[in-house]
Amino acid sequence: MPTMPKLTNLEYYQMIQAVLLVIGLWKLMEKCGEKGYYALIPGYRYYKLGEIAGRERDGIACFVFEIARFLLRVAYPVIPDESSPEFFVALIILAVMLILVIYQIRVISGLCFTFNRRKWWIVVWLFFDWLMFMIWGFFKQFQPVNRGVDDDDNLLAGTKPFHVQYGSQDETADTGLQVQLKERTVNDFGKKRYLLKDIYFTIPVNSLVLLLGGSGSGKTTLVNAVIGYEKANAVIRLNGENVYENYDQMKYKIGFVPQQDLLRQTDTVYNTLHDAAKLRLPVQVSRRKSKERIQEVMDVLGLTAGKSGLVSKKSGGQKKRISIGMELISDPDLFILDEPDSGLDGVIARELFEKLHDIAHQGNVVITITHTPDRVADLFDKVIVLARDSGRVGRLAFYGSPDEARKFFGKDTMEQIVMAVNKKEEGGEGRADEFIAKYAELQAGQLTQAEPQETEITEDEQ
């Protein structure tokens, strides 16, 4: 008859610890509205703790490294004793365990925030994890009071968008930019996460458009989806051509100027633009035409005077103009700029936006993201307001003229509009869901009546 192997005192102690840890975690999971039996699954339990703690990425890392550790420990006994591979595998196990502990500490740190407890609990967890989970699981004083409160700007996008009913969006525009974005999602360990949802608008040509929204509202994600760089479940048409279907051609008709001046500092202004022209202009464009175009762009942006100077020697405003010039070379139909005025003073910023206004009114669509819109608000023809809904998903809260926007939100300035849709934790009014629903209703009304419908703003909203 087989006999049970005799356990040492240390093994008994470890076994009791493991049982207590599971019991404590079970209670803690239940306290946080999760299923208690998750505590029984090594790896996955830290993933769930990561979710509870608002540190999902760290939770995912814990899960991955726990699996890696498990696999390595399974493989370890198979390797011949005292061989070189055994030594290397032991080293890898050690490294994996160290990394795992770091990620677990991050999760526990987040858990301290969720339970509104001091960080020294991490030390308790480090030596007596079972004890900490027992206390946090069983004692009533320990409650997840900050569950769902964002402590981190990089928090993953939500899985449950705020529900809004939209009308049909099947019309096709032959000119301008038409955006019919159903959703932009990412797959995160089998979970569908929404970055953007239900964004529909059509911008006519000759428009300078302001893209407004708080941090994390999805402005850059929308821009990347519109230019086809990160494709979404959407139909994007630029002057009637489908951007996604003809991306190889369309990418040359779209200019995107990033927020940072991504330029090689040790090249001259002229050479920078010259190389940009070679890359962006079709081969059919002759050398003479190409040179003329470079000169034209330098003239428009006021770069001719210092064209032989190194980029590194130029001021912030000049670098910004070089960066814009690189994209302007190809005379794009759609021109998108991410905070082109960051680091520029009021006068230079105004000059820049006036130039962008002129570019837009030469038959183009120019979209800009800026955090200081009010100093140039009169130059914009349209405003797009994005907001992060209660499900942490980027949504369209408004699209229309600046005057209509002020009326819609009941605010005097663009910055006040951003504050209205920003979360309360960010100092905003936390009214994103309200305006998303209101705009969807307005849009649906417009579609059914085929005429613009003014929305009444109540006194409360004002």
Binding site: S83, P85, R264, L279, V283
Partner: protein
């Protein structure tokens, strides 16, 4: 509907980036790698002395030092070149740049740097009166054989370093990874620290192993004398055994009969290494393996850099 426009393809883009890189060579600090290479070569030749290509010990340590100089030069040439401008690459990729063209331009430019560094290294060795064997094993000219070998070691290290630069996202990480890579290359060269089993198999992945095999073969290591045995015996000359000094008698007899060179050569024969067999095939194997490492590193570089689009903003 507009007619289809053609934009510059891969080959044309290589030209654009090559022009940019050569301009950078002048404007930026890239030219500084050349005096740096001369300085390092000078220090190493000074330390190696004149024993290289004369005795097995001198050849081994000298060749190892030359390999180290090449690996060092190669690593430093390109460890930061990609990661320092990753956001710019992302922007240009979005605007139609081909990653393969961008990296091909870098590889051609780095080849130019490595050729110059190899020429400097050989020039410095010559200036330091390092005695080269008269005959080359592959081309018949030792200097040309050595130049090809040193160039390959430098260039392969350079491309490996380029792959690391494509993998990491910033210069801080690159400079953290580089010492680790250097240590791996030096320890697992198999030349200085004897390795066995699994560790010995790992040496096949290093540039230093093939570089060292290459240079030791070129220098005809196996037909040289070994001085370690004689030097050790010499230290025991005064040792007395029952009132006599047998080791002193033995060494004096060898010197009296003018047999020292023969003894050194004979002791060298017992210390031959199969990997250093003096034959063109050995050199070709080393060159081939280094080229394989280079090709793999180049392909990996392109694959790694394709992920630049996924970089967080």
């Amino acid at each position: 509907m507009s007619s289809k426009l053609r934009y510059r393809g891969r080959i044309a883009q290589i030209g654009i980036y090559l022009g940019k890189l050569f301009r950078m060579f002048i404007y930026q600090n890239d030219w500084k790698v050349l005096p740096m290479a001369a300085l390092i070569a000078g220090l190493v030749t000074f330390a190696v002395g004149n024993n290289i290509f004369k005795t097995q010990e001198g050849t081994l340590s000298g060749c190892f030092s030359l390999v180290c100089v090449c690996v060092w030069n190669g690593f430093f040439n390109s460890i930061q070149v990609v990661c320092r401008e990753r956001p710019i690459i992302k922007r240009e990729h979005r605007a139609g740049m081909h990653i393969s063209s961008y990296l091909a331009a870098h590889m051609i430019y780095q080849m130019f740097l490595c050729v110059l560094q190899t020429a400097i290294l050989i020039g410095v060795c010559r200036m330091a009166n390092m005695q080269f064997p008269e005959k080359g094993l592959v081309t018949g000219n030792f200097t040309i054989d050595l130049a090809i070998s040193l160039f390959l070691i430098t260039y392969v290290s350079d491309i490996l370093s380029l792959a690391i630069s494509c993998l990491v996202h910033n210069t801080t990480t690159a400079m953290t990874v580089m010492p680790f890579m250097l240590i791996f290359q030096l320890i697992f060269s198999g030349g200085l620290i004897p390795l066995e089993g699994f560790a010995q198999k790992l040496t096949n992945l290093t540039i230093t192993k093939w570089g060292l095999n290459n240079l030791c073969t070129l220098g005809d290591y196996n037909s040289q004398g070994m001085v370690t045995l004689w030097n050790t015996v010499w230290k025991f000359r005064e040792m007395e055994i029952e009132g006599t000094k047998p080791i002193k008698l033995f060494t004096d007899e060898i010197l009296r009969k003018n047999m020292l060179d023969q003894v050194l050569l004979d002791s060298g024969k017992y210390n031959t290494v199969a990997d250093y067999t003096y034959a063109p095939a050995t050199i070709y194997t080393c060159w081939r393996n280094m080229v394989i490492i280079m090709v793999i590193a180049a392909v990996v570089s392109v694959l790694l850099l394709k992920s630049v689009d996924k970089d967080r903003r």
